[in-house]
Amino acid sequence: MITAKNLNEEEFFYGHKACAGCGGSLAVRIALKVLGEKAVAVLPAGCMSAVGFNYPQLCFSNNAIISTFAGTASMMTGVLAGLRARGITDAQVVGFAGDGGTADIGIQALSGAIDRNDDVLYICYDNEAYMNTGIQKSSLTPFGARTTTTPAGNNIRGNIRPKKNVFEIIAAHDIPYAATATVGYLQDYINKVEKASKIRGTKFIHVIAPCPTGWGVKTDETVDVAKEIVDTGLWYLAEYENGEFTLNHKPESFSSVENYLKRQARFRHLTDDDIQAITAGRDSKWEHILKFWNVKK
């Protein structure tokens, strides 16, 4: 088992230009440390390709390639097939795509790869908006969040649609392994990356990776806010495997949704009614989870 104590000391994603406190770069860095030198990374347009792939400053010490925005999963399919044709069977093809690259433009190719059950690991680092282009709404932006395309004023009160349920959409493909995670609970994320790398077929990990710039939190709050989203019950740590959902972590009691929202500039405009609606949405989701999913003690 890989832990903080025996985690690979080699850096596979180093010298990049990500903002201070970037949750996405943390997710990529840790995953590569788990996967090691035989990982081949595929990244579409997005923060991680923008900050790590500027010739001549190329920041991956693994083999890595930028795909088209829509083409993360289909390029992974090709890389895997090409490596196999060369007789290379011990490389882990891993994709790192943001929420827009996964849940919006990339979902067709992702669905296709899962349908073929290609032996690849797809990691969606979710910072809940198009952060690389300046904080515009994606389908994984949560209800109420202010973005530059869902402004919060007198007429519109931020994003009025709930976050798309990508985890369960992916699970509905009957994928061999899917999981949710957060960079706030790193050991859980490490465990899931390690576990996924040992499963044959398509694997998907949806990791919450806060963006201090887009969320409006301090740069040293990334990990804390990524923990809090789980402690409030607004995000959950779960797995889908062998046709079943399992909840990995059940908070004894939820911490304050209001505190979580109010510490972030993107939610600061929310009214008490909005916060109540978000809390009610959480409660109804948890009712479903506790009724239908396996719950780990």
Binding site: I66, T68, S74, T77
Partner: protein
Amino acid sequence: MSKKFLSGDEAFAYGIRLARPDVISAYPITPQTVVVEKLSDFVEDGSLKSNFIHVESEHSALSCAMGVSAAGARAFTATSSQGLLYMAECLVYASGGRFPIVMMNANRSTALPWNIYGDQRDSLALLDSGWIQSYAQDGQEALDMALMSYYIAEHKKVQTPFMVNLDGFVLTHTYEVVDVPEQAQADEFLPSFETENKFDFESPKNLAFSAGPETNTFFKVKEHLGLLNASAVISEAEERFAKIFGRKYSGLTENYKTEDADYIILTLGSVSGLIRQAVDELRDEGLKAGLVRIRYMRPFPVSEISAAVKNAKALAVLEKDVSFGAEGTVYTNVNSALKKNALEIPSKNFIGGLGGKDISLREIKDIFLKLKDVSEGQKLSDVNFLGVDVKGE
């Protein structure tokens, strides 16, 4: 070598089998489908050891092929029309990334109005995507191009993706007797795929990176030179091909009775056969007609065209596309070639065959006769559409 009765699509599939691609990523679109069906049959019967991947779109077909190439293996895909346009983003990506993928395009009309029949608006709309573009005239050339395209695309001086175009239905679905070479001959002709532009576990690489204003031009010039280098490599490939297979090709253009021709039609693809017939018949009647078949639109045969037409009295470019608001794309390119060589020959554009409309022998003969009139001083508009009578308002 064996003789088989094959459609253009099938002939192409036989050529691809001889080239032994490691991976085929395929999405169906009419009139390309027969190629990927035939290849899947070859994979099924074991005559082609290749990984056939069922992708979910044309965009994914080419995206997958780029992944294959980056991993250091040989890739093939095929498309047509809207499918080609849908993967347009990946076309520029593949050429910029110097991934020497081969793709067959079944030339077909683009929407709207919807139409599945053959014209060349799809590929010519993407002429600037950085790919080598060739246009086959018959099933034999289709098969031979399938094999030659890999040699050219993968040559280290070229490293550029290659689009082989076959006229939809007229060529893709028309049957003729085709010589199918032996695998041993094909293996002698085509070396196994080798590229430096691939992942390496001894010395890992970052591929398909960003390049800002300071370095961008460098990479674009290298890409441009790759395409220009293809001219010499095409000749080399054809000489090699002739030695092994005994069939000769003539480089970027194929000239028919142009040496003493007064009037020459320049065109692409399968309509050339009919023009050849018109040339023969008109010559019997005393008119010195000729044909230049442009085999490659990229790299563009500037000097070859100029050399072939330099003594003509008038020229016509017959093509199945329109660059709306301007003229036919081939016409623009031909006029540019003439200008570069200071040739002051009147040239007229004839646009026909859109949406699969038949171009008749009579219409082709009329074009030659109109060229005679033009050379004798009669006025004719620069751009002429065959078979319609729509006046400007």
